[in-house]
């Protein structure tokens, strides 16, 4: 009886936290995915109707050169998700490659660890400014900065997993059975060490949207007329006191994405640790 009365807490993604995160990210992502169906306005087409308020014609109004804001925000979500879904896998793969390299010898481990320290020592935005100084502003430096910034996170996570799994009995058994060190690492240890990387992936997505927004906001990321959430926000800054509605839609989208991915990460983390 007592058992029935205690509220069962569902683990992982199905917890309240995980479902909230999924709903937030899902809503924003679907809006971006179906952008061409949801609006008939071209996100870069200008009109004479500048800084119009929300209304029947333009759902969220127009920006300072008469572009439809609803359409810009929807296509901006697309830009953000495209950048994040390109950059995070690149960073993850590089991080994992370094972690595998580190597992081959003590010397390699030392070098890889110092490399991660070096990347972490640069505050993110300084890294962003440095990369943009080399490449000039655009979407490519944003992808590179995100990928670079994510390498240590994935790398350290996998390295820790490998160190634990390598000492497990099944790994020793495979070794005794005559498998080479490399084979044990790739075929036996690696598949058992990748679980925490899913959590890291959700964290990385949250950070990626963050970095895109910050770089485009500073004018060193995606450049107008191309819409991205950060560049729309950056534009809206000049009109905060006169047209606050301009900023609210991109603000909501960024918040929902970043917070959603963070909540998913927390929920997954709890689910894995059980």
């Amino acid at each position: 009886m007592a058992l029935l009365l205690t509220r069962r807490r569902r683990p992982g993604l199905l917890s309240a936290r995980g479902l909230t995160g999924l709903a937030l990210v899902g809503a924003v992502a679907l809006a971006g995915l179906f952008a061409p169906l949801l609006t008939s306005y071209d996100p870069v087409a200008q009109s004479d109707l500048a800084l119009a308020g929300p209304g029947a014609d333009h759902l969220l109004g127009t920006d300072d050169i008469g572009r439809d804001l609803f359409s810009r925000v929807l296509y901006g979500i697309r830009t953000d998700l495209l950048i994040s879904f390109t950059a995070v896998p690149v960073g993850a793969l590089l991080g994992c490659a370094f972690a595998l390299l580190a597992a081959t010898s003590r010397w390699a481990d030392m070098s890889v660890q110092r490399l991660f320290d070096l990347i972490l020592a640069f505050p993110g935005l300084i890294l962003a400014l440095a990369v943009t100084a080399i490449l000039g502003p655009g979407a490519l430096p944003v992808v590179i900065v995100i990928a670079l910034a994510e390498i240590p996170g994935f790398g350290r996570q996998l390295r820790a997993g490998i160190l634990v799994q390598r000492e497990r009995e099944y790994a020793l058994a495979a070794r005794v059975g005559g498998a080479s060190r490399l084979r044990v690492l790739v075929r036996h240890v690696l598949p058992n060490a990748v679980d925490p990387l899913i959590v890291q992936g959700a964290v990385a997505m949250s950070v990626a949207v963050f970095i895109e927004g910050a770089m485009s906001f500073l004018g060193v990321g995606v450049r107008p007329p191309e819409p991205s959430l950060g560049s729309i926000l950056s534009q809206s800054m000049a009109y905060l006191s006169t047209h606050p509605a301009f900023a609210i839609a991109p603000l909501t989208a960024v918040t929902a994405l970043v917070l959603g991915f963070a909540l998913i990460a927390e929920a997954l983390n709890k689910g894995i640790r059980r």
Binding site: A121, P123, G124, L125, I126, L129, A130, T132, A133, I134, G136, P137, S206, F210, G213, A214, F217, L218, G219, V220, G230, L233, S236, M237, L240, S241, P244, A247, I248, L251, V254, T255, V258, L259, F261, A262, L263, E266
Partner: protein, 314 residues
């Protein structure tokens, strides 16, 4: 302590030297040539060559690098390429505003972080702890430009209590200066305060479970005194390390916050330097930031040993 410093200083200097080389090399890898952009689109090759010679860009790479290091050691940073004026003057002007903003934010981080941690660890109401956890999660995830714009929309646009951006000198008008400082400092401080708060809470929960706390409770020591005299001091050392790391984050975050609130600091200078390809400004600024980072790490280690007598300077 002196021998510890003697041991740490050379490695700190080595990190700085390495960083200076990396910064210098990276800036020289940039495809564009500042002389070409300075000369303008109509200039002939002779004009570009003259500018290159004037700026010393026609010298070999290592000569330029050595020249820069020499300038740094003598404190003569030379003129900027594109922004105009002496680099040392530009940095000096921005440094004051950035230090002001960072110190104000640091104060807020300590106050808010301790408050979040203390309340979180000692409250007996589950909803208070839950609300604090949700709040810190949100503040940590949401980027500063989102909190910044939200703060402006609420406090400047809707309520009209504080100015939306700008800067006023503390010396000329202290009361106005504080009004201008409040929103940017809060925006910069919030994420770090949330992190610090979590560490304070974890540390306090751990020390409050220690035997000496139970002994003190059994002896009838009031709970407030137990927290202040026994639990909190023992929870602090890891917090100081985190605070040290957060100072680096604050300096990095200042770039963004300065852009939101039109704060005339080093962040704006760095942004301008990158956009306008002003080598001297960018390389001196980057090195300065790395330098501050190294210094803060050194200080953190020293404070750590001072807080916890079991740790020796070796």
């Amino acid at each position: 302590m002196r021998s510890y410093l003697l041991k740490r200083l050379p490695s700190a200097a080595l990190v700085l030297l390495l960083a200076s080389f990396v910064i210098f090399a990276i800036l020289r890898l940039i495809p564009g040539d500042p002389a070409t952009s300075l000369a303008g689109p109509d200039a002939g090759p002779e004009a570009v060559a003259a500018i290159r010679a004037r700026l010393g860009l026609d010298q070999p790479f290592l000569t330029q690098y050595a020249g820069w290091l020499g300038d740094l050691l003598t404190g003569d940073l030379g003129p900027s390429y594109a922004i105009g004026g002496e680099v040392s003057e530009l940095i000096g002007n921005g440094l004051g505003a950035t230090v002001e903003l960072t110190l104000a934010a640091l104060l807020l981080v300590v106050v808010l972080g301790l408050a979040i941690g203390l309340v979180g660890a000692t409250t007996r109401r589950p909803w208070v702890a839950g609300a604090l956890r949700a709040l810190t999660t949100a503040v940590l995830a949401v980027p500063p430009f989102v909190t910044g714009i939200a703060l402006v929309l609420v406090f400047a646009v809707t309520l009209g209590l504080l100015p939306p951006g700008g800067h006023e000198s503390v010396l000329d008008a202290p009361d106005l200066a504080v009004q201008y400082l409040l929103l940017p400092a809060l925006c910069l401080a919030l994420p770090s305060a949330a992190i610090l708060g979590r560490y304070v809470k974890d540390g306090l929960e751990r020390t409050l479970a220690e035997d000496y706390v139970r002994t003190a409770t059994a002896l009838g020591v009031p709970r407030k005194r137990i927290i202040r005299r026994h639990a909190l001091p023992n929870a602090l050392p890891p917090v100081v390390t985190v605070l040290g790391m957060q100072i680096g984050q604050l300096l990095g975050g200042a770039v963004l916050v300065e852009a939101i609130f039109a704060w005339p600091g080093l962040g704006q200078l760095a942004e301008q330097g990158v956009v306008r390809r002003d080598y001297p400004v960018v390389q001196d600024l980057l090195l300065l930031m790395v330098g501050v980072f190294v210094l803060v790490q050194l200080l953190t280690d020293l404070v750590y040993a001072w807080l916890d007598p079991r740790i020796r300077w070796e």
